[in-house]
C-alpha cells in the first residue's frame, strides 16, 4: 500500500506554513506539560465568551462522578428571552488529545451555532490524562451531562433536546457519551456532532501511517494521547468502548450523528469506518470528508474556503436536527 499522503488543500497548506513554528505534527509525552503552558491556553482568557453581549456566561461547579471531585461547567445562555419556550442545549466537550485543554478551548464554535440557533451552550471541564487516565475524563463528561439534563429548567433549556458536540478528543468523548447514555438509559441525546473525532486507540489505519509527520496530530501524537489515557492497555485486547468508541461492538440505538474529518489527517479512516458502522447498524449519520483538510483545519484556519464550507455544514445539520 502506498503511503503517499493526499495533498493538503492549497489554502490549508498555506495555513500550515503559518503555524508550523507553533504546531508540530507530533507530540511526545515529555512535551505535554510544555504545551499545556503554551500560548493557546493563555489566550483563552481573552476570548469574549459573551460574543459581544449575546450570551450571559457563568462558571458553575457541579458534582463530579460518584466519589470524585466536582467539575466545572461553563454555561453560556442567550441574553435575550427565548423566542419559543425552552431552548436546546449544545453540550460541548473540548479537544486536546485527552491530555491538554480546558472548557474554553474551541467553545467559540458551539457559541456561533448557539447564536444562530438560539441555544444554550454548556462546556464541560474534565480531568486530563495521564494524571487522570480512563475512565476519569469520560465519567467527568458524563457527570456534567447528568447535571445539565437535571438542571435544564434552571438554564431555560429543554432536557429532551440535548446535542453533544466536540472536536478531536472532544468528539471521541461525545461518541462515548452516546454509547454511555444509550447503555445507562439516559440522559437521552437527540444528536451527536463528532468533528474529526478521536475514536480508535489502535492507531493503525492506513491514514495514521500516511499522515505520519505531517499536518496536525500525527501518529506519534496520537500514540501519546491514547497511551496517556490507557497506559499499557492501549492497542491491546481489553480497551473499553467508552474509552475508544471504535472498539464498540454494538453501534445500534445511537442518536443521529454528524461526523466530519479531513482527507489528509490521521483520523480519516477511523471516522469513515465509524460512520459506515453506524449505517450498517441501521443508524442515522451524516459524514463529510473534507478534501485536503488537516486535523482541526476549520479551527486553525476558519477563513479558508473549505473551513467555511465545513462550518456551514455543521450549522445546516444542527438546524435540520433541531427544527426538522
Amino acid at each position: 500500500m502506498t503511503h503517499v499522503p493526499p495533498p493538503f488543500d492549497p489554502e490549508l497548506a498555506g495555513a500550515l506554513e503559518l503555524i508550523k513554528d507553533m504546531i508540530s505534527p507530533g507530540l511526545t509525552p515529555d512535551q505535554i506539560a510544555e504545551v499545556r503552558q503554551g500560548p493557546g491556553i493563555e489566550l483563552l482568557a481573552e476570548l469574549d465568551l459573551t460574543m459581544g453581549g449575546t450570551f450571559v456566561v457563568e462558571d458553575r461547579q457541579v458534582p463530579g462522578p460518584q466519589g470524585e471531585p466536582d467539575i466545572s461547567l461553563l454555561i453560556c445562555r442567550p441574553a435575550l428571552p427565548a423566542a419559543a419556550g425552552a431552548r436546546p442545549v449544545i453540550y460541548h466537550v473540548h479537544g486536546g488529545g485527552m491530555v491538554i485543554g480546558n472548557n474554553r478551548v474551541g467553545v467559540d464554535v458551539p457559541l456561533a451555532w448557539a447564536r444562530a440557533l438560539d441555544a444554550v451552550v454548556v462546556s464541560v471541564e474534565y480531568r486530563l490524562a495521564p494524571e487522570h487516565p480512563h475512565p476519569a475524563p469520560v465519567e467527568d463528561v458524563y457527570a456534567g451531562l447528568l447535571w445539565t439534563a437535571e438542571h435544564a429548567a434552571e438554564l431555560g433549556a429543554d432536557p429532551e433536546r440535548i446535542v453533544v458536540a466536540g472536536a478531536s478528543a472532544g468528539g471521541g468523548l461525545c461518541a462515548a457519551l452516546a454509547l454511555l447514555t444509550r447503555d445507562r438509559k439516559g440522559p437521552r441525546l437527540i444528536g451527536q456532532v463528532l468533528m474529526c473525532p478521536m475514536l480508535d486507540d489502535r492507531n493503525d489505519t492506513p491514514s495514521t501511517y500516511q499522515m505520519a509527520g505531517l499536518g496536525v496530530w500525527d501518529r506519534t501524537a496520537n500514540e501519546t494521547g491514547w497511551s496517556a489515557l490507557l497506559g499499557s492497555r492501549r492497542g491491546g485486547p481489553d480497551v473499553p468502548a467508552y474509552a475508544a468508541p471504535a472498539r464498540a461492538e454494538d453501534l445500534t440505538g445511537l442518536p443521529p450523528a454528524f461526523l466530519d474529518v479531513g482527507s489528509a489527517e490521521t483520523f480519516r479512516d477511523e471516522v469513515v469506518a465509524y460512520a459506515s458502522r453506524i449505517w450498517q447498524a441501521g443508524g442515522v449519520a451524516e459524514l463529510h470528508v473534507w478534501p485536503g483538510g488537516f486535523h482541526g483545519f476549520d479551527g486553525f484556519a476558519p477563513q479558508a474556503a473549505l473551513s467555511q464550507s465545513a462550518r456551514a455544514a455543521h450549522v445546516d445539520w444542527l438546524r435540520r436536527l433541531l427544527n426538522g
Binding site: 495533498p7 493538503f8 488543500d9 492549497p10 489554502e11 497548506a13 498555506g14 495555513a15 500550515l16 506554513e17 503559518l18 503555524i19 513554528d21 507553533m22 504546531i23 504545551v35 503554551g38 500560548p39 493557546g40 491556553i41 493563555e42 489566550l43 483563552l44 481573552e46 476570548l47 469574549d48 460574543m51 459581544g52 479537544g95 486536546g96 488529545g97 491538554i100 485543554g101 478551548v105 474551541g106 467559540d108 457559541l111 456561533a112 472536536a167 478531536s168 478528543a169 496536525v216 496530530w217 501524537a221 486535523h295 482541526g296 479551527g299 486553525f300 484556519a301 476558519p302 477563513q303 479558508a304 474556503a305 473551513s307 467555511q308
Partner: protein, 465 residues
C-alpha cells in the same frame, strides 16, 4: 486539539510577519491555489478587505478579513494601497486600508472589521508596537511613494524584499484566536496606525518605521492623507499576492487578450453571428462596452486589445520581437473589430523594416494613413509595380545610399533635417539628390516632386509580395 493556539488570523504588524507572508503565498502558489484563495490570503493576513480588479479579464473578487467573499459595486478608493499585477497592465490588487470618504460607501467592508472590535482589548499590538519598534525595516520600493508595489519588478529580485528585524514580540504565536471576529489585529492597526514605512534607507541611517498615530483618536474622522504610507507587512502582502495572482490569472484565464487563436478568429470574422463574436470577446476578456482595436503583426496572429491599452503593454502579454512590423487598427466597438482588422492589415502593408535597405516606420497606425490608405487597393502585392516604383527599384539596385536618402528627404520637413538624419553634409545631400533625380527622371526638390516621391515610396512597400 490546540485549536486556539495557532489560529490563522491577521498578522501582527511586525516585520517578522513578512517572512510568514512570503511563506504563505509561496505555499499557496505551490499548491496551485485559485484566485479567490489568494485574495482571501491578502485579506486575512492584512486584516482588511482585499480586492482584485482586472478589467481586462473582467475579474472582480473581494474578500473580507473573515474570509467571506463579498463583492461590491463600489469602485476602489484610489488612496488605498494597491499593487499592479504587471507593470503596464490595468489589473490591481487593493487592500481596503485607511482612506476616508469611501470607507463608509464601501459598506460592510472595512468599516465593520473595525467597529466590530470595539469590545476587544487592543493592548497587545499596542505594546508590541510601542515596545519593539522594529529597527531595521527595509521596505521594497522605497522610492517616493511606496503605495504601489509592482509585482513583476519584485519577482525579478525576490531576495531583496525585506531585511527583517527579529526583535519584534511574540508575533504570530499569539495572533491566536479571534473568535468569531478574527480581525482583532486589524482593528488595532486601524486604531494605532502602527508601523508606517516612510522611508527605507538600508544605509547607515536605518530605515525608520514611524508609528504614525495618524489621528489621536481611533474613531476620529479618518483624516488620512491621500498618499498613504505603507506598512511593511502590507507591502509584502500586496507584492506577494499580486505576483501569485498574476501567475494564476495567466494560467487559468489566459494571457488576455488575444491568446486563443480560435476565439480571435471568430471575433474578427464579420460573417460570424454577432452572438458568437460577443461570446468570443467575453472569453478573451474584452469589455464589451469599451472600444478595442486589432494589431496585425507581420507573420503572426492578430491580437485584440482594449483601446486604452498601449501597444507596448500588449506586446508584453505574448512577447513579440520588438522589431516586428506591426499594423495598428483603429479603435472601434467590439462588434466592428473585423473592420479594425482589415485596416490593421492595410496599415501593416505600409510598414518597413526600418533598415537602410528598407527604411520606413515599423509600426503604422491605420488612423494616421488618411487617403494614402486608398493606394493599398490600387497596388497588388507581388504584381508588376507601377513605373515610378520600378524606377526606384532600378536606381536602388545600383546606388546603395538611395533608399535611405530618399526616405530621409520624404519624411523630414527640410533638406537640412534630412541631411542630419542620415549623417551627411548638407552639400553631400544636394549632390545625391541631383544624382537621384537623374536616375529617377523626376525632380525631388519641388512640392510636386516630393509628393511623387512619397507616393512612390509608399507604393514600393505596398507592392512587396
Amino acid at each position: 486539539m490546540k485549536e486556539l493556539a495557532g489560529r490563522l488570523t491577521a498578522l501582527d504588524p511586525d516585520a517578522g510577519a513578512a517572512v510568514r507572508v512570503i511563506a504563505y503565498f509561496d505555499r499557496l502558489a505551490e499548491s496551485r491555489a485559485g484566485v479567490e484563495a489568494l485574495v482571501r490570503g491578502a485579506a486575512v493576513l492584512s486584516g482588511c478587505p482585499a480586492r482584485l480588479v482586472d478589467p481586462e479579464r473582467r475579474v472582480h473578487v473581494r474578500v473580507q478579513p473573515d474570509g467571506a467573499r463579498q463583492d461590491t459595486e463600489t469602485p476602489p478608493d484610489p488612496t488605498w494601497p494597491s499593487a499592479r499585477l504587471s507593470p503596464n497592465g490595468p489589473a490591481l490588487l487593493w487592500l481596503e486600508r485607511g482612506g476616508g470618504a469611501s470607507e463608509g460607501a464601501a459598506g460592510s467592508g472595512s468599516g465593520v472589521a473595525i467597529t466590530e472590535q470595539d469590545g476587544a482589548t487592543p493592548s497587545r499590538a499596542d505594546e508590541e508596537q510601542g515596545g519593539a519598534e522594529p529597527g531595521g525595516v527595509v521596505a521594497e520600493d522605497a522610492g517616493a511613494a511606496p503605495d504601489r508595489v509592482d509585482a513583476e519588478q519584485e519577482e525579478a529580485a525576490p531576495g531583496r524584499v525585506i531585511a527583517m528585524p527579529t526583535a519584534a514580540g511574540p508575533g504570530m504565536a499569539t495572533a491566536g484566536h479571534g473568535g468569531a471576529t478574527p480581525s482583532r489585529v486589524a482593528s488595532q492597526q486601524a486604531e494605532a496606525a502602527p508601523g508606517r514605512v516612510t522611508t527605507k534607507q538600508p544605509g547607515p541611517a536605518p530605515s525608520q518605521v514611524v508609528a504614525a498615530r495618524a489621528g489621536t483618536q481611533p474613531g476620529a474622522a479618518d483624516s488620512e492623507p491621500a498618499a498613504h504610507s505603507l506598512s511593511v507587512v502590507d507591502a509584502v502582502i500586496l507584492e506577494r499576492a499580486a505576483a501569485a495572482l498574476r501567475l494564476v490569472l495567466d494560467r487559468t484565464r489566459g494571457r488576455a487578450p488575444a491568446d486563443d487563436p480560435a476565439l480571435v478568429e471568430t471575433l474578427l470574422d464579420a460573417t460570424a453571428p454577432e452572438q458568437a463574436r460577443l461570446y468570443a470577446a467575453r472569453r478573451l476578456g474584452l469589455d464589451l462596452t469599451a472600444p478595442a482595436r486589432v494589431l496585425a503583426p507581420l507573420g503572426d496572429r492578430p491580437r485584440v486589445v482594449p483601446a486604452g491599452a498601449g501597444v507596448a503593454g500588449v506586446a508584453g502579454s505574448r512577447p513579440a520581437p520588438p522589431e516586428a512590423r506591426l499594423g495598428v487598427g483603429p479603435a472601434v466597438p467590439v462588434l466592428d473589430l473585423p473592420r479594425s482588422w482589415t485596416a490593421a492589415r492595410t496599415a501593416l502593408r505600409f510598414t518597413a523594416e526600418g533598415t537602410p535597405q528598407d527604411p520606413g516606420p515599423r509600426v503604422v497606425h491605420a488612423d494616421e494613413l488618411g487617403g494614402i490608405a486608398l493606394l493599398a487597393d490600387l497596388v497588388v502585392p507581388g504584381a508588376e509595380p507601377p513605373p515610378d516604383v520600378r524606377a526606384l527599384e532600378a536606381a536602388a539596385a545600383t546606388t546603395p545610399w538611395l533608399s535611405a536618402t530618399l526616405h530621409a528627404v520624404a519624411s523630414t520637413t527640410s533638406l537640412r533635417a534630412a541631411a542630419a538624419g542620415i549623417n551627411v553634409h548638407h552639400s553631400t545631400l544636394q549632390d545625391r539628390l541631383t544624382h537621384a533625380e537623374h536616375l529617377l527622371g523626376w525632380p525631388l526638390r519641388t512640392p510636386q516632386g516630393r509628393l511623387r516621391l512619397q507616393l512612390a515610396l509608399a507604393m514600393r512597400h505596398l507592392a512587396r509580395p
